[in-house]
Structures are given as C-alpha cells and as structure tokens.
Symmetry: C2
C-alpha cells in the first residue's frame, strides 16, 4: 500500500518511537505526503460517524508565522513546512458534547502517526486566541479551532531514530488496573 | 520490534483498513497482547505530558456483561474478550479543560491501531450511566469514565481484510481546505 521509495513502519514501531518535533528543515512537504496525512485523519472513526471536523492545510510562510501567534507554545508553527488547523464545532459552548474533542483526538493521532511513518515530525499547538486563528484562517463563526498541528522533516534527522527518554511516561504498572480500580 | 508470529502492519495500511468490530470470537486475548494495547495508549503524547488517564482492563465475563449496561450502544462489551475502561478527570465539570478528552482520544487511537495490527478488533462505547461504570469498576469519586473500549478477535475473520465501504467518510476534497477556509 506504499508508493515506491516511501518509508513504511509497523504501527507498534511508530507508536514506540514517535517523539515530539518542534524544529523543522526548511523544505516543503511533497503535496502527496501532506494529502496522505490529512487523509489519515479523515479515515478515523467518530461518534455516530459524525465527522465533525474540517482541516485547513497551511504552507504559506507568512500565514504560518501569523498562525504561530495563537498561543504561548505555538512558536514551532512559524518554522513548520506545513500546519494543519483542526476545525470543529465549539466544544466550550454550554451543552457541547465531550465527544467533539475525543473524536478529534482520534483523528489527530492518525495524522501524527501517518506523518511519522513517512519520516515527518509533528507537534500539536493549543489555540489560546481564537480571534487570531479566525483572522488567519477565515473559518465561519459557528466553528472553532482548538488545535494546530505543525509538520515537517525534522531539523535533526536523529529525532527519527533516537530512543525514547526514560521516565517520559508513567509506568505500565501504574496506569494499568486489573478488573477493578 | 515484533515477537515471532505476531502480525505486523504499516501505519498507513492499518489506518486504511481498520473497521469497527462489535462481534467477537469467544477466545481470550493473550496477556501480552492485551498489555501491548494498553502500552500503546500509555505511549501517547498528552498536553504538557500530564497523562491524565488510567486504564482498567476487564476480562471477567460477568464484569464485561455488567459493564455493557453503561449505555444504549454498549452491548458489544458483553461479548468482548476484554474491555479497557478509560478513566480521566471529569471533563464535564465546570471549568474542565477540553484537552482532557483530546488527550484521551490520542491515547485511544494508539490502542485501537495497535490492536488492529495484531488482528484484534475493537469498538468504543460511550458511558451514559456513570453510576453503573463506578459500581462495576470501583474508581474513586474524583475521576470519571467516559469511554469503554471493547477488544477481541473478530467473530468474522473477513472483517480484518474486507475493503472499506464506499461513502463511509466525507471525501478528502470536502474536509481539506487550502491555506484558508
């Protein structure tokens, strides 16, 4: 299912080796790889198959720089090869379902893993300032942008193969309960 | 990175072929495969690396049956080989961050894809009745169970290889916007 020359990786290897990448090579992503990433998100299952999501792919440098002002930890967007802004109904409005962000997380992980398989690093940024996102992206008032994902080939290629830091995750014995809490 | 005899699948193939499975073979999951699935969830990135999640793995048949009463679409849990209940801070309390369910979605997709790679089907169930979940699982008052994931070898092995239904997802051209909405 891979085109010739494309990097392929088992699911387990991708999950095990994936790390956050915030620093990217100044090199555009081939169009077909960017589309593959969005397509991976589109394939995710969602509550009652509602697919309450739209994805805005940004590659223009000035727009990426403008988008990096959406939050205090969003600086990595400025140097990304591409960003994908995730648009959903507003999950903070009264009575909004918690499933909006759950579904979006399922779709986003597909994108992050699909990118990693291709040797493309990524980092999610939380949008703190909705008005900046709306000004840059132009989405209508009835939807909302909670996250922007940065993508690009890692500035440090060793990021793709470096072993995970010890202690980065709570141990299995701590998070896993058997039969009851 | 795979043990001998284990099924391995590229990320893209897993994302493309994965389907919902609600009907399972009456055969327990080997302990190491169930642990692999939980471990996949544990590896997910989370907002500020908070890892606000605990996972309760249930394999006892009577407990699975009791758990299948948590919601109107949770019947598949009764016949699953295992269920993993996802425990987080309560995302519905006033002021709770939308990132709780986003993070949980990232972790859950890891589990669902890691299972699929191993030939194990899955289906998420929304918990509508918190009191039933709490009675069966025994988690403390300060945490909450939003979803239970069912896992098992598919009753119909063709589920693992059947091509996706046409029209099941919004087309790429509809969900993907370029540069601006």
């Amino acid at each position: 299912m891979s085109a010739p020359g494309e990097r392929s990786m088992s699911v387990w290897a991708a999950i095990r080796t994936k790390r956050m990448v915030r620093s990217f090579r100044d090199e555009p992503l081939p169009a077909e790889l960017l589309e593959r990433i969005v397509d991976a998100g589109r394939h995710a299952a969602s509550s009652k198959n509602q697919q309450r999501w739209d994805f805005i792919a940004v590659q223009d440098r000035a727009r990426l720089e403008a988008l990096s002002a959406v939050g205090p930890y969003a600086g990595h967007i400025a140097g990304a090869a591409a960003a994908i802004a995730l648009i959903t109904p507003d999950p903070t409005r009264p009575g909004a379902s918690t499933s909006i962000m759950w579904d979006l997380g399922l779709a986003a992980e597909n994108m992050l893993l699909a990118a990693w398989e291709l040797g493309i690093g990524s980092c999610p940024a939380t949008v703190y300032d909705q008005s900046i996102a709306r000004e840059v992206l132009g989405h209508p008032a009835e939807v909302w942008c909670g996250y922007v994902l940065s993508f690009g080939f890692p500035a440090d290629p060793d990021d793709l193969t470096r072993p995970p830091k010890a202690g980065g995750r709570r141990p299995l014995e701590e998070v896993l309960h058997r039969e009851r809490w």
